[in-house]
């Protein structure tokens, strides 16, 4: 297992380098211009000077090399400095990856926004899983029952109605009509008292529910299908013939086997937590990573887009590995060595 993991990590390095180059090249070829959003009254010469001050007059391979150095050498060193309060080498002169729109280090922007995304999107993912697995199990075990029919209907609605619609409906019902929850996520709120905690919970309810509904409907369909596949297999009949109770058959024999594809799906979905829920974050004004990415793309803030997309790529590669490892744990027949 250890050998397998090490081998996979070593393979991942050239893969990620290639990915980072491809992202960089695509962004470079895109007809984006960081001065494109300036008003018509700003003359072309001024725009040219702004582009120069951002380093855009350098050839592409040099800019890519600089980004690699800044991201893989300077940023980790800087992080070490901060964490341990030490000074490695020439800390003052180390250039960091700087966002064009805010002129501040990209990594700081990402760190500032990660907690909100993890809380809102992460919680909705967790709730989604907690809702989906029992619903999937019951729906499959009692196929075509009333519960299954209703579950299928709700899942279809949750799956096919986009979050920008459910989010809007939730705002109109719970914020405008009933006035239960705020429609604007207060990102300056610091949870330091019971009142603030209640406020925080209140403002998280709508975005988390909207996203959890969406996640749960996808997963519950997978769970149901997977259990149905297993219920008719020989080992289930054997277990029943041995006289095992239905609970044991379903929750130990069938569930463990059915979870394999679902766990893969869950593991592969974790990187999407970090990439945020772009639309939901925008609707509820949660200052998460998804919103950051959208703003960066709109403003042609290439260093920020590049860094964010690359981090997502790293997470996807990493969680693919995690999924493979979990496979081995769930199914002892799978051996990697």
């Amino acid at each position: 297992m250890i050998h397998f993991i090490i081998r996979r990590i070593l393979i991942a390095i050239p893969t990620l380098l290639a990915i980072s180059f491809i992202i960089f090249a695509i962004l470079d070829f895109a007809p984006n211009d960081p001065t494109g959003n300036l008003p018509m009254t700003v003359p072309p010469e001024v725009r040219e000077k702004i582009r120069q001050s951002l380093g855009l007059d350098q050839p592409m391979h040099i800019r890519f090399g600089m980004w690699l150095h800044q991201f893989f050498v300077n940023e980790p060193l800087n992080a070490l400095d901060k964490v341990f309060g030490i000074k490695i080498g020439d800390a003052e002169d180390r250039t960091r990856v700087i966002s064009w729109a805010t002129r501040s280090p990209v990594v700081d922007l990402i760190i500032e926004r990660t907690p909100q995304t993890l809380w809102v999107v992460g919680l909705s993912y967790l709730f989604g899983i907690l809702i989906a697995i029992p619903i999937g199990i019951i729906s499959a075990y009692k196929q075509y029952s009333m519960f299954d029919q209703i579950g299928t209907f709700v899942a279809m609605v949750g799956f096919s109605v986009p979050t920008f619609f459910t989010g809007m409906v939730a705002i109109i019902i719970f914020s405008v009509q009933l006035e239960w929850f705020p429609m604007i996520y207060d990102t300056t709120l610091v949870v330091d008292s019971w009142n603030h905690f209640v406020k925080q919970v209140k403002q998280m309810i709508m975005p988390v529910t909207v996203l959890a509904l969406y996640n749960a409907s996808q997963l519950s369909r997978f769970m149901r299908a997977s259990i149905l596949d297993n219920l008719n297999l020989d080992y289930v009949r054997t277990a029943r013939a041995k006289g095992r109770s239905e609970n044991v058959v379903l929750l130990i024999h069938v569930l463990r086997n059915s979870l394999i594809p679902v766990v893969t799906l869950i593991a592969l979905g974790i990187p999407t937590i970090f990439s945020g829920a772009i639309i939901t974050e925008q609707i509820f004004r949660v200052n998460g990573l998804g919103q950051l990415l959208v703003i960066a793309i709109e403003g042609a803030d290439i260093p920020l887009v590049q860094t964010l997309t690359f981090i997502f790529a790293v997470l996807i590669v990493a969680f693919n590995l995690v999924a493979d490892v979990v496979y081995g744990i769930l199914d002892p027949r799978i051996r990697y060595d």
Binding site: T102, R103, M183
Partner: protein, 592 residues
């Protein structure tokens, strides 16, 4: 590698945060001490209290207006950084950090119009307690004009030869040419004063790295930045050193960004969660419905933006190849448009349009009908062209009949084999397409056939010389868009329609004269304006030029477009402004 112990080295940011934290704490203790000792006077001077919530659906990415030309950044920074003079809601220039506006009459502007002298009001302090001096203004000029800074506001400092301090509080700006309108540098929210002490190490290439300075600038305004989250939210606190100790009325100001215009309007008008929402580009019907909830008011104001039809005076026929939409010949157009060159046709097209319908359908409170391309400031608005306010289809038909354009069997007017069939282009935008459809129908009633075309805004306004679809190339008969100018002086704007400004192949379509309309008389007026300083004369010239353009129908103005915002009914003092920041007088805002 060199390892050092923690107490010797702090990272720059850490150090800054520490200092800022201490500063904030000392502000607070100062405030509390002030409250305790003043006691009696506290009841006279209302102390700042409570919180004001602003909602801008685009979040500011920096607090330094020199590194961003976006309105959202300019608006946010305007509560901290202030210029020497700014514009009120009527477009009048008012002294802000100075005692009076320098003019030729009071000796502030030299007779030859090459220098202007500003005198800073006594006792203006930055929020850190230090005094505002001429050095800060000189530094701001040097900062922005340093080519490595990448300053977006350099055109506010154009033609400046030098900026000098005559004494500690007197700033002299010297120009390399005569400037009849010298009020650009340090006027309005585009060019506020930075504090030299804070930014002295941030000019030039280092501007990119000074993120603490760019996020937490020290200014003279009513608020101080307390917490900046890029593209999301800014928290401000009342400036304890503000020149008027009874202002601002709020202890904290929250500037939230992100989302979209409709939900921003909802947060103020329907749920009342926010106190102010900016730039509500929302269908008038939806907005009016939201206002019925009674929690807030919609406010609008008008700047100089006019949605207009550009009339092509040259022939855009594709068969002409290289000479499409080219002006050939000196003062006589030898490539005239087959039917738009006829004055009668242009006049009839304008007369047939019912502008009120366009306003009601697409703009609501954000628009009013306009018969001028120079509708504002009010002193420049001409009333000579008001004929266009009332549509007159019968008259338009009569004019065309008289000019010999007869209706054919298909209902389209023609003369000598030329049919009045118009290709009408604009950018892709639902309001614009609505306007196009209305105008097509209005023109049908006078026997004019119209083909509509819309082009993605990034291509239409993109200015790519290789693309045939840009508004500069104008390969169509009529095109529609909005044009405007910054500030309140129309000189540069009005010079857009001189002959040398014609967008042509030879200048790579870099000119501003899209109609390719050329008049020696107009050029003479423009040249005269460039050397006239007296305001009355400038007004007369600008009106005259506007009337020439309007009465020859070089452009057909449609709608004077405004800005729309909303504020909660509990807030008073909002004076909506299109000439400067909407938050220009935020120090006077109060909660009822």
């Amino acid at each position: 590698m060199v390892f050092q112990s923690k107490n010797i080295d702090h990272s720059k940011q850490f150090r800054y945060n520490l200092i800022r934290g201490e500063l904030m704490r000392s502000y607070l203790s100062l405030l509390i001490a002030g409250l305790l000792t003043l006691g009696v006077s506290a009841s006279i001077h209302a102390k700042p209290q409570g919180q004001l919530n602003l909602l801008y659906w685009q979040g500011p990415s920096t607090m330094n207006p020199n590194l961003s030309g976006g309105t959202k950044e300019l608006e946010a920074s305007s509560v901290v950084l202030e210029p020497l003079a700014r514009y009120d809601e009527k477009g009048n220039m008012i002294p802000w950090l100075v005692d009076e506006i320098p003019t030729v009459d009071n000796g502030g502007v030299s007779k030859d119009l090459t220098s202007i002298t500003w005198k800073i009001k006594k006792g203006i302090k930055f929020s850190d307690g230090s005094e505002l001096t001429a050095e800060d203004a000189i530094f701001t000029y040097e900062y922005c004009t340093n080519p490595d800074t990448g300053c977006t506001q350099t055109n506010y400092y154009s033609d400046i030869q030098s900026v000098k301090a005559l004494d500690r509080y007197t700033i002299q700006v010297n120009f390399s040419v005569a400037k009849p309108f010298p009020y650009q540098a340090f006027v309005g929210y585009n060019s506020p004063i930075l504090q030299k002490a804070q930014f002295k190490d941030c000019a030039g290439a280092r501007a990119q790295e000074c993120n603490e300075e760019n996020f937490y600038p020290i200014g003279t305004g009513p608020f101080v930045v307390k917490d900046f989250k890029a593209n999301d939210v800014i928290v401000f606190e009342a400036n304890p050193n503000y020149r008027d100790s009874s202002k601002p009325a709020f202890q904290t100001l929250v500037f939230k960004g992100g989302g979209d215009a409709v939900s921003a309007a909802r947060a103020v008008l329907e749920t009342g969660e926010m106190d102010y929402a900016w730039n509500l580009q929302v269908e008038p019907e939806i907005l009016a419905n939201m206002e019925k909830a009674g929690k807030g008011k919609i406010v609008s104001s008008f700047g100089t933006a006019v949605e207009r039809l550009m009339v092509n005076f040259t022939n855009p026929d594709p068969a002409l190849g290289e000479n499409r939409s080219e002006f050939i010949g000196g003062n006589n157009n030898r490539n005239p448009h087959p039917f738009l060159a006829d004055y009668a046709v242009r006049r009839a097209l304008s007369l047939a349009i019912d502008r009120q319908v366009l306003v009601d359908a697409g703009y609501g409170q954000a628009g009013q009908i306009s018969c001028n391309v120079l509708p504002a400031p009010a002193i420049y608005a001409s009333s000579a062209n008001d004929e266009c306010k009332t549509p007159n289809v019968a008259e338009a038909n009569r004019i065309l009949d008289e000019a010999g354009w007869k209706k054919g069997s298909d209902g389209v007017r023609q003369k000598d084999g030329v049919r009045i069939s118009i290709l009408y282009q604009t950018s892709t935008n639902s309001v614009r397409q609505g306007t196009q459809a209305f105008i097509k129908e209005m023109w049908r009633q006078i026997g004019v056939e119209t083909e509509l075309r819309n082009i993605s805004a990034s291509v239409f306004f993109g200015g790519d010389v290789g693309s045939p679809d840009t508004y500069q190339k104008f390969y169509a008969d009529i095109e529609m868009y909005t044009n405007t100018f910054s500030g309140t002086d129309p000189e540069t704007y009005m010079s857009n329609w001189t002959c040398k400004e014609m967008a042509q192949k030879r200048n790579k379509w870099g000119g501003n004269n899209m109609p390719r309309w050329c008049s020696a008389e107009y050029d003479a007026l423009s040249a005269e304006m460039a050397k006239t300083a007296n305001l009355e004369d400038r007004i007369r010239l600008a009106k005259q030029m506007n009337d020439m353009l309007m009465q020859d129908y070089a452009m057909i103005p449609l709608i004077h477009r405004g800005d729309v915002s909303a504020h909660s009914s509990s807030i008073s003092g909002v004076r909506m402004n299109s000439w400067d920041s909407e938050l220009w007088n935020i120090a006077d805002w109060k909660r009822n």
